[in-house]
Symmetry: C2
Subunit: 308 residues, 2 copies
Amino acid sequence: MINKLIGKIQKTGAPIVVGLDPMLSYVPEHVQREAFNEYGETLRGAAEAIWKFNKEIVDRTYDLIPAVKPQIAMYEQFGVEGLEAYKKTVDYCKSKGLVVIGDIKRGDIGSTSAAYAVGHLGKVQIGSRTYSGFDEDFATVNPYLGSDGVKPFIEVCKEENKGLFILVKTSNPSSGEFQDRLVDERPLYELVGEKVAEWGAEHCGDTYSYIGAVVGATYPEQGKVLRKIMPKSLILVPGYGAQGGKGKDLVHFFNEDGLGAIVNSSRGIIAAYKQEAYARFGAENFGEASRAAVEDMIADIRGALETR
Amino acid sequence: MINKLIGKIQKTGAPIVVGLDPMLSYVPEHVQREAFNEYGETLRGAAEAIWKFNKEIVDRTYDLIPAVKPQIAMYEQFGVEGLEAYKKTVDYCKSKGLVVIGDIKRGDIGSTSAAYAVGHLGKVQIGSRTYSGFDEDFATVNPYLGSDGVKPFIEVCKEENKGLFILVKTSNPSSGEFQDRLVDERPLYELVGEKVAEWGAEHCGDTYSYIGAVVGATYPEQGKVLRKIMPKSLILVPGYGAQGGKGKDLVHFFNEDGLGAIVNSSRGIIAAYKQEAYARFGAENFGEASRAAVEDMIADIRGALETR
């Protein structure tokens, strides 16, 4: 799956990922109205609205991009019905040839991480049969519990030819509170980065490892250091756009080969029609606004990489 | 909700919580067979089997215990159908008067944590209405992202009168890999414990805080230190029984008032009928075996507290 992702990044020339994180407030009124007319102002109605919203954005952008990253929390807020919309979104994106990164940030003790790994990346045994619960291609993982909370995910990835992005340095303002604390004179995130490199070295695709890392666009200096610590790990970079990261901040997340990072934008793409820059499309054509925002993001990052 | 939990611990005299973490391999054959006869060897069939298994255990133990802790991963492994069984379990336990601790270990950047908090502890707005997605009473939270990943949970707890248990020192063998690293000559888990105490001080019930902590039974010495660092926080203690913790290891997790900790056992209770000590019940009477195991666990912990 890492080879497929790298291949798609090369083919599209777009080291980006669209974050399918649909708040109901991003969904244009006409889409909400249609869903509520069918299912009422219910959890099912909300789930239908975000699914239809996602589908339109995917239909308008899938040919430009290698991957999507649905954030499961945005679906989980609508309970079981929301998670049905998550599953439909995962399946639909895969049917369009997109690589799906499940932004689930799970992580627990070994036996529990194994259950998450099976549910999201693997197959669960039921009597004489096996089934895939959610079946994303990649998943994000929280490393706070240490190696034995991460290894069950790696085992499933090996079996299923899938991959992980492990939280190393997150994009949020208070990420430094624990992640930046100095251990033997070095920030904790560097130690986590070293573990990612170690796990990753044993599980490599053709050029990059199955085991990647999450490093926020909002911390470019840290990205520069982590790029060197984890040379074979693809870095998933959230925080571009709405969270404040810009193309020029991102160059150090990439290797000399122009690969090595994949930059996520969520709100900046999926709610583009609400921004002044794309207001010309109107809420009716929100999918076209997202397409224009994707094109601009690709141009911004390509430009930054070419002039470095 | 913290007052309700403390009240129920006092009333039952049982500072314990039953972990409803149903692996399909724990579910007796006759329960599996019945579910598969109705729904086939499918995700729905598995979900039905674990729900029926849970219901029997709850029916046989609810009068002895204050709370249950369903581990959502064990349901999530069966996809959307599994999460339906999770929701049914949460609702059923609440209908029996039990406090429900959702062991979800979520945690993300602020806006995403807010969505998790709404989905699990709060209410989501849909048009002119509000709905509760999962509606547990407490949730476990991963602190790796720092304060702004935790605060949205605290905000929802204030509104809804609910509570949290934040991972401080987890029960698994490699929990020390990052949690024990020395920061200014003190282990990271102590710094996390101090933050829990700080968050907790601002959000107190009558005797204990809404903001508790998770500290593994397998690390009694660390529990002793953390008990002092977080005097007002209830400590949720996993790792008793199958993971190796014993009653005598647990005394330091408690305060002098005999309160302050709530000890979880999962496999040791729900799969008791598989142990030699409870084999006399047979698989047919697995619920009675669980009841006996609960009684023994209560006696073990009471004994340890009385002789300290």
